[in-house]
């Protein structure tokens, strides 16, 4: 039999068997983790926390914070001014200091 005849005889089924029997290479340990962690690198490197991104990500919190600030300002500063009597006598609230009752600093009392 010629070489060509040998080749034909050998050919298809044998080659198919050889190809089918080729073992899969073992997956390197940690490859999955490395592939997944690359995405983390990208997240930090290529998608930085720009102002726009912060606004998009946290807009509900930012709106809440702004609303709370406005309410706080209104209730603490504006509202008391609105409801306070214009001629309210503040005298009782002012503590008058009697200079005569204050201890006098003498040589004995000086440290």
């Amino acid at each position: 039999m010629t070489d060509a005849g040998d080749s034909n005889q050998f050919a298809r089924e044998q080659v198919d068997r050889m190809l089918a029997a080729l073992p899969d290479p073992p997956l390197p340990p940690g490859l999955r983790q490395r592939v997944l962690s690359q995405r983390g690198v990208l997240r930090g490197g290529e998608r930085p926390w720009s102002t726009g991104r912060v606004m998009r990500a946290f807009w509900p919190q930012l709106v809440g914070l702004a609303a709370a600030s406005v309410l706080g300002f209104l209730s603490g500063v504006v509202a008391p001014g609105l409801f306070m009597e214009p001629d309210t006598d503040l005298t009782p609230y002012i503590v008058a200091l009697d200079v005569n009752t204050l201890p006098t600093l003498t040589e004995e009392t000086m440290p």
Binding site: D3, D6, S7, F10, A11, R12, Q14, V15, M18, L19, A21, L22, P23, D24, P25, P26, L27, P28, L31, R32, R34, V35, L36, Q38, R39, L42, E46
Partner: protein, 175 residues
């Protein structure tokens, strides 16, 4: 893929789990080196994360698109390096008769060497359709050729493989 385009990490993880092993197998059989195959696979998944938005369903399946990324990376690597010795598994047959294992190792070495002798596109065409289960149309999209051209690559690749392995027939068939 639509979820991946929106930056859905769970979708990415699912795709990695589904395709990592086959991607690594393809890359290793393309380049013949474990380290390079690993680099190619890592880079391919990185690009998948970055460029998911470029995939269009009407231009072909996800598999065809992803293997195209991977194939191009493998080709770039092979063209950048000097000639090399392929790395083969030490114990592909697993536990068993030492003589049988030795023969299985030797046979795997010969088949792998024969695959690596094929021109890049013939090798890729065989690997994609035979091992990775791509249809001829998908493999053609991956290699950026028409279906007829892909079929021609398969015929030529197979013929070369038969010729190469027939020359080593005595080593391959001894049992």
């Amino acid at each position: 893929m639509a979820r991946l385009t929106d930056g859905d990490e769970a979708a990415y993880e699912m795709l990695v789990d589904r395709h990592l092993h086959s991607a690594y197998r393809f890359a290793y059989r393309m380049v013949g080196q474990y380290g390079e195959a690993e680099d190619a696979v890592q880079e391919a998944f990185l690009r998948l994360w970055q460029k998911a938005g470029q995939w269009r369903a009407r231009r072909g399946s996800f598999k065809a698109w992803f293997y195209r990324l991977l194939y191009n990376l493998c080709v770039d690597m092979m063209r950048r390096r000097p000639p090399f010795e392929p790395e083969l598994d030490e114990d592909p047959a697993g536990p068993g008769n030492p003589a049988t294992e030795l023969h299985a190792t030797q046979r795997a070495r010969l088949v792998m060497a024969a695959l690596l002798q094929l021109p890049e596109r013939q090798r890729a065409a065989l690997l994609l359709t035979y091992y990775e289960g791509l249809t001829n149309r998908e493999a053609a999209t991956t290699l950026n050729v028409g279906v007829k051209a892909l079929e021609a690559l398969l015929v030529r690749g197979r013929r070369t493989l038969v010729r190469t392995l027939a020359g080593r027939k005595s080593e391959l068939l001894e049992d």
